[in-house]
Every structure is written in C-alpha cells, then in structure tokens.
C-alpha cells in the first residue's frame, strides 16, 4: 500500500496525472457495465431500477409493437439527457435503457457531468448543479413535472426518488478508491416509493366520501406513458342492513388520479349510512401486483 502511494506521489510530481490515468474508451459512450469497473455500487443500484428495465420491459416491448412505434423509443433509450428537453433516440446499446452515459456524459464538454466537485483521473468530470433539480427529470417525466410544479413544494424529484445514502465512496476499484474521500451518495435505485396512509386523507361529508392526496406532490398515481392505477373500494353498510359496494379505478391516463390537494368526491347512494369501509390499493404500470396503501372504517356519528 505504501509503495503504491509513493508511486502515486511520484507520478503526481512529475507528470500531469490526468493524462496517465485517463481511460479513453470511457468517453466513447460505453455500456453501463463499463462504469461498473469503478462505480460498482452505483451500478448495482441502477440495475434494480426501472431505468435499467426501460427498454427490456416486456410491457414496453409489447406496447411499442416490438419497438416498431418509433415515436415511443427516445425516452426509453435516450442519447443524452438535458434539463426539460425531450431526448433523442440513442444508436448504441439500447437494451441498457436509461443508462449512465445517457444521464451523465455530455457531448458539449466530453466529460461526465454530476452534482459534485470531484477529481476523477480516469475521465474528465464537470460539476453541474442541474443534477439536483427536478428539471433534470422533466424532459421524460413531462406530465409528472408539470404536476409537481403546480404543487409548489420545496422537495425535488431527487429528494424523494434518489434519496441520500449518506457519505460513501463513489468508486470501489482498487487502488483508486484509496485516493478519494467518501462523498454524498444518492440512491440510483430510483425507488418509486409508496404513499403513506397519512398521505391520503379520507372522510365522510354529507352524502360524499372525500379523498385528498395531501402527501405526494404530484398526481397519485402519476405517469407520462405508463398506466399505473389506484383502486378504491368502498363498502357501505346501511341502517336497514343493506350493503353496497362502490368501486373506482383512478388513473392518470383516464384523468381520474388524485391531484395534489384537490379533493376527490365520491357520491354515496342515498340511505341511512351506518358505516363505510374504505380500501385503497395501488398497482404500478409495470406490475400486476396490487398493494394496499390504506384501509379504514368510517362511521357516521349518531345524531
């Protein structure tokens, strides 16, 4: 270890380090797994994200008619991501979906852009604070971005969908990691998250059941081209023992999703309502599984 350090210091003193350690192919738009040679952890996270599946997704393959619908392809295999710009389709490694090079490499500077100030001998880097802003995601998540803007909240997409992992090494490759300090790391799993029960307020008012999304600062659920859904099931029990079940399918594509802080009204059929059992479930666009978000029983106060 010490010998390495000495060699290293020797190199620093006599040559421009950048030129010694630079790995040319990193600027030739390689596959994501090439970045894993150093950024192993980030790569493992990304591989669990939906961005990794954006091209391979069976749903996407089917709905794009085997990649035949040309206008569908660019956001699922982008060439370069720029804030608020719809990307163009990439020529190489489309199966990588939304990958490292697309999000970080810029033709203009021929370097890796990112949120940090780093010293990265293998490839040039450029600090770029756009990476911490919602606008970065807006070229593809266009509808969600519009909804988020209307919500006027402070938190960015990244705050919730690239949560901080605390300070960690950006690279795992020996010996390079020895020369770098741990830095702020953000989750490249891009978790979709799950609304908490308190994010959705539910109450009875007169003849109506009212739902309000008070916690998720975009539609619940939200989408551009996917078709995620919320299932609302209300079982109503009347004084005379009669029962009725109301079902609602709420989705962004049918324009029935729960907008942020905009109450959703469900009319309850007339009668002497005793109690209402409410269950709310969600389903992601890419999954068949329904998960429960909230379950509660409301009773009408006795007069």
């Amino acid at each position: 270890m010490r010998i390495l350090l000495i060699i290293f210091l020797f190199l620093v003193s006599c040559e421009k380090l950048e030129e010694v350690f630079v790995e040319e192919d990193l600027l030739q738009r390689p596959q994501a797994k090439r970045c894993a040679d150093c950024h192993a952890q980030i790569y493992e996270e990304w591989k669990e994200s939906r961005h990794y599946r954006a091209w391979k997704s069976e749903n996407f393959r089917r709905e794009s008619e085997n990649y035949g619908k040309v206008k569908c392809l660019s956001c699922h295999a982008p060439h370069q991501v720029d804030p608020e710009k719809k990307p163009v389709l990439r020529a190489e490694f489309r199966e990588d979906g939304v990958h490292c090079v697309a999000c970080h490499f810029k033709e203009e500077t021929r370097s890796m852009h990112g949120p940090l100030k780093v010293w990265s001998p293998p490839h040039p880097s450029t600090q770029d604070l756009d990476y911490t802003k919602s606008e970065f995601c807006a070229g593809c998540h266009r509808e969600t971005y519009k909804e988020w803007k209307l919500a006027k909240v402070r938190k960015s997409c990244q705050d919730c969908h690239m949560p901080s992992l605390g300070k960690k090494d950006l690279i795992q490759k020996f010996p390079f990691y020895l020369f770098h300090l741990a830095k702020r790391r953000t989750s490249h799993r891009f978790p979709a998250q799950k609304a908490k029960p308190e994010d959705i307020e539910v109450h009875l008012k007169g003849k109506e059941l009212i739902l309000v999304n008070v916690g998720v600062p975009h539609n619940l659920p939200t989408a551009d081209q996917g078709d995620p859904k919320l299932y609302l099931i209300a079982q109503i029990l009347y004084g005379d023992g009669k029962k009725r079940t109301l079902r609602k399918l709420l989705s962004p594509q049918s324009k029935t999703a729960l907008q942020y802080r905009v109450p959703y009204h469900l009319r309850i059929p007339d009668g002497d309502v005793k109690e209402v059992r409410v269950k709310i479930m969600r389903k992601f666009a890419w999954s068949d599984e329904k998960e429960t978000l909230k379950e509660l029983t409301l009773r009408t106060p006795s007069p």
Partner: protein
C-alpha cells in the same frame, strides 16, 4: 409539347393514386413480412418503391433538360430495382414484366421521346396493377398500429379486456341504461348508467399506448367529453333523472365515440380481419 406529354405520362406513373369501380383488399402474402418490423427494421420493400419512383422522375427530369445520359442512368437504376423487387415476394412474381423495364432502357438509349412515353406507360401499368390490388392492404397491415395488443382495465370489474371486448361492455351498459330508463326502472338505470360513465371515462387510458402528445387526446376525449360525462353522472345521482336530458347527454358523449371511430375503426377492422 412532346415534353409536356412526357411529364404528364410519367407523373401519373410515379404516383400511386388510381381510380376504380371497386377497391380490393387482399391479405398481403406471408413472404412480405420479412421486410417489415419486427422481422426487419429497414423497410426494404417500401424503400425499393421509393427508389423506383425517384428513378422514374430522374428519367423525366433529365430528358426535360436534354440530358439523355443522365436519363439513361436512371432507366438502368429503375430496371435493376424492378428486377430486384420482382424476386422479393415470390407470390407477386406474375405482376412483373422484366422485359418492359428493359424496353424502357432501350427507349431512353434511342433518345426517342415517343418511345420513352410508350415504354413508360407500359411499365407503369404493371406498377399500377399491383398497387390497385395490394397497396391499401399493405399500408393497413404494416403501417397502422394494432388495437389488438391493447388492453383496457374495466373499472367496474377490475379486469383487463382487449379493445373489441371492452367496446362491447361499454356499449352494453349504455344500452342497458336506455332500456331501463324506457321501462321506468330507476335503480337499475342508475347502476347501468354509472357503469357506462366509468367505462367511458376509462377510454382515455388507451390513447397513451399509441400517442405521445396529449393534444391528440384533447381533440377527441377532451373537455366537452369530460363535461358531458360529469353532467350525466350528476344527473343519474339524483332521484328520477330526466329521461330526455339523459338521452341528450348520451348524444354528446356519442359524438366523441364517433370521432374516434372515424379516425381509428376502419383500419382496425381491416387489420383484424387479416390477422384472423
């Protein structure tokens, strides 16, 4: 004068419009598949068509400018592509008359405008015959996306259905609403009507499977459609909904159904027939 005749003759040939007593829709042959996605991404067949059509115009343009050598090169290009295309789809072999392509090259070589017109017309007729028999069907099968692969989730049953089946459910709940109203069965009309409203609202979820621009959606299932559905829902929620008003609102909703059918239904029906 002569040149003018040439231009018109060639213009007719290079285009693909035709007039006819009947329009034929024949199922495209199996072997055409390999020139379209998913089998191929290069659209080899239609590219060859563009090459031939450009070559025809190349002959025309050069003769007009007195450049017979240039015209000859395009005639040779046309012949070469014509021969190539004649081998692409064996089922269509009999549409091609290679001799006529050769005659056109010879006519251009002779620098005789009348011969060029004659030879062009003859060759052009072989193009036109095949287009009349096949072009529309090919366009529908290979250029129009399919509704067959699209599923809509039924908001009443929470089950997914293909487009055709969904339309049936949607229509049946509309018919049930009308029938119960006419029979004076209020509760049943209300339930059927609510199902219809929910099903109609869910129609919009199909659009994003083919369209990436929300404006396309607005044109057909936009504000007016939403309003008609909301009004219908409110009307049905009250007791004893006014029958005439319900029918009037159904008419408004129906205008959107018709618009969407006008744009999408015919291609889909033809495609489906061929796919069966």
């Amino acid at each position: 004068m002569r040149y003018r005749a040439l231009i018109t003759a060639l213009a007719v040939i290079a285009g693909v419009s035709f007039s006819a007593e009947k329009v034929i829709l024949k199922k495209p042959p199996e072997s055409l598949k390999k020139y379209y996605p998913p089998a191929s991404k290069n659209y080899e067949f239609i590219s060859a068509m563009h090459t031939m059509s450009t070559a025809f115009y190349g002959i025309n343009l050069n003769i007009n400018e007195g450049n017979w050598e240039g015209a000859k090169r395009w005639a040779q290009e046309l012949k070469k592509t014509y021969l190539k295309v004649s081998k692409m789809v064996p089922e269509w072999k009999s549409y091609f008359k290679p001799q006529l392509a050769d005659n056109l090259v010879k006519a251009v070589s002779s620098k005789n405008v009348d011969r060029v017109i004659g030879a062009s017309k003859k060759l052009g007729q072989t193009c036109a015959k095949c287009h009349q028999d096949n072009e529309i069907a090919v366009k529908l099968v290979y250029h129009f996306p399919s509704f067959e692969t699209i599923k809509i989730e039924d908001p009443v049953e929470f089950m997914e259905y293909k487009t055709g089946k969904y339309m049936e459910k949607l229509t049946n709940s509309m018919k049930a609403l009308k029938i119960y109203l006419l029979q004076g069965e209020g509760d049943k009309a209300q339930e059927a009507g609510m199902n219809f409203v929910e099903r109609a609202r869910q129609l919009r979820s199909m659009c994003s499977k083919c369209h990436t621009n929300k404006l396309s959606e607005e044109v057909i299932v936009g504000k007016e459609f939403e309003k008609a559905l909301n009004d219908l829902e409110n009307l049905l929620s009250g007791d004893k909904p006014d029958r005439d008003r319900v029918f009037k609102l159904l008419g408004k909703v129906g205008a959107s159904c018709t618009k969407c059918h006008n744009v999408h239904l015919i291609p889909q029906v033809v495609k489906e027939a061929f796919e069966k």
